[in-house]
Symmetry: C2
Subunit: 245 residues, 2 copies
């Protein structure tokens, strides 16, 4: 099961500051992120916890395993994969994160990032300083509550994922989860581009790449989806949901 280490490049530059330095109130995913349900004056207040907004290219790293914790990152656009290389030299994928989601939460308690975060597409990110966030949160009950909600939901998702069943169930659940999350972000739920490779999916779901591939073909033969490379169309979500249970 030896895999090559994540091929990542350290981010070095901040690009296109002018265009990127948009405030939270203009952000496409503000209702999925921290500033959910606030008045515009409150949002401007929340806006101040964003230390900087950065732009990264595909394959660039946001942070690396073991690095000391500096910021939480809210994803404005693009897809991020969080991964680590384990004792045996295999890459383990912790998760894939979409716009509006926050990464780095697991580093808060230890002060070190427990995994690396890499952009799967060109991405825009908001660097959030924890101390500032907590300070503002203690003044804005709604923000404190939203932070706790975000962490609670992430925990709930993880806990429900614990019980992995067959390979088909895992792949079906994975595709549906992606579909649902794209849908929440205003994209079409049943037709999208997979931002990650089959190998990534396998490493995330604890399956061999070949198994993922076989299950794609199998689902396609069963008329559940149409996959060509990374282009994916879900043809029968109801059946996929039954399969995922």
């Amino acid at each position: 099961m030896k895999q090559p280490e994540c091929s990542t490049q350290r981010c070095s530059t901040t690009v296109d500051i002018d265009r990127l330095y948009q405030i939270c109130s203009n952000c496409a995913v503000k209702d999925l992120c921290l500033p959910v349900g606030f008045s515009s004056s409150e949002i401007n207040y929340i806006d101040q916890i964003v230390k900087e907004r950065i732009s990264l290219k595909r394959k660039q790293a946001i942070y690396q395993t073991g690095e000391s914790f500096k910021y939480l990152y809210a994803i404005q656009s693009g897809v991020v994969k969080c991964c680590r290389v384990n004792y045996h030299g295999d890459e383990e994928i912790i998760g894939f994160f979409l716009p509006g989601e926050i990464i780095g939460l697991e580093a808060i308690h230890s002060g070190h990032y427990e995994n690396s975060a890499v952009c799967l597409e060109n991405a825009a990110l908001c660097a959030i300083e924890l101390t500032g966030l907590l300070e503002v949160a203690s003044r804005l009950p709604g923000l404190q509550r939203q932070l706790v909600n975000v962490m609670s939901q992430r925990l709930a998702v993880r806990e429900s994922q614990g019980q992995q069943r067959t390979a088909e169930q895992r792949v079906a659940a994975f595709l549906l989860s992606l579909s649902y999350r794209y849908h929440l972000r205003g994209s079409i739920a049943d037709e999208f581009i997979l931002p990650m490779s089959r190998q990534d999916i396998g490493q995330y779901l604890n399956l061999a790449t070949e198994t993922v591939s076989r299950i794609f073909t199998h689902f396609q033969q069963a008329g559940l989806l149409h996959a060509q490379g990374k282009k994916l169309k879900l043809l029968n979500i109801k059946s996929l949901e039954k399969l995922a249970l």
Copy 2:
């Protein structure tokens, strides 16, 4: 894989209020729970977020899947298992929780407990009202931070557990985790009573009961541990650690 539903009894009575109504500052696990590193006056303040302290017997339920979220519970003594019955009627075990740990965190965002919590031993619990906790937290930065730390750590543990490898690795890691957590609570690290059944362990680790049993015998033959029923003695923690990697 059909299993009987959790055999639980709903808790009805609050027993021995007088003896149990001890304040946080006297609690054996205050340094593992929320009131970590506070002055005694601050602890008394924190104490007020505990709505009530309850005592439950073995097999009694604290809350059930789907019930609306009322309290977080901090475990004062005893071991609690969190579980749910899935679509197929099988019991899934989400986790086992020791004194000083907090359960119900995953229910915050949805307002409903996502699993049931059952005492594996007679237990004492502190019911914490979330609104009160958040209010006090917004005044005491240290408490706010500790809440976030607890959730962050739980998330980190879950995320690192995602990558399950062989059955032996999972069982070894499980035993070491228990051992370490008992150690943190002042118990002997290498000799303890397993509070849960082989079936529970299997359901938690996604293994058949028989597999768990076989691995116990195998570890015993290899001189790594001595197990007699629920009595367990770890004889070679170093080797177990290597096995768990």
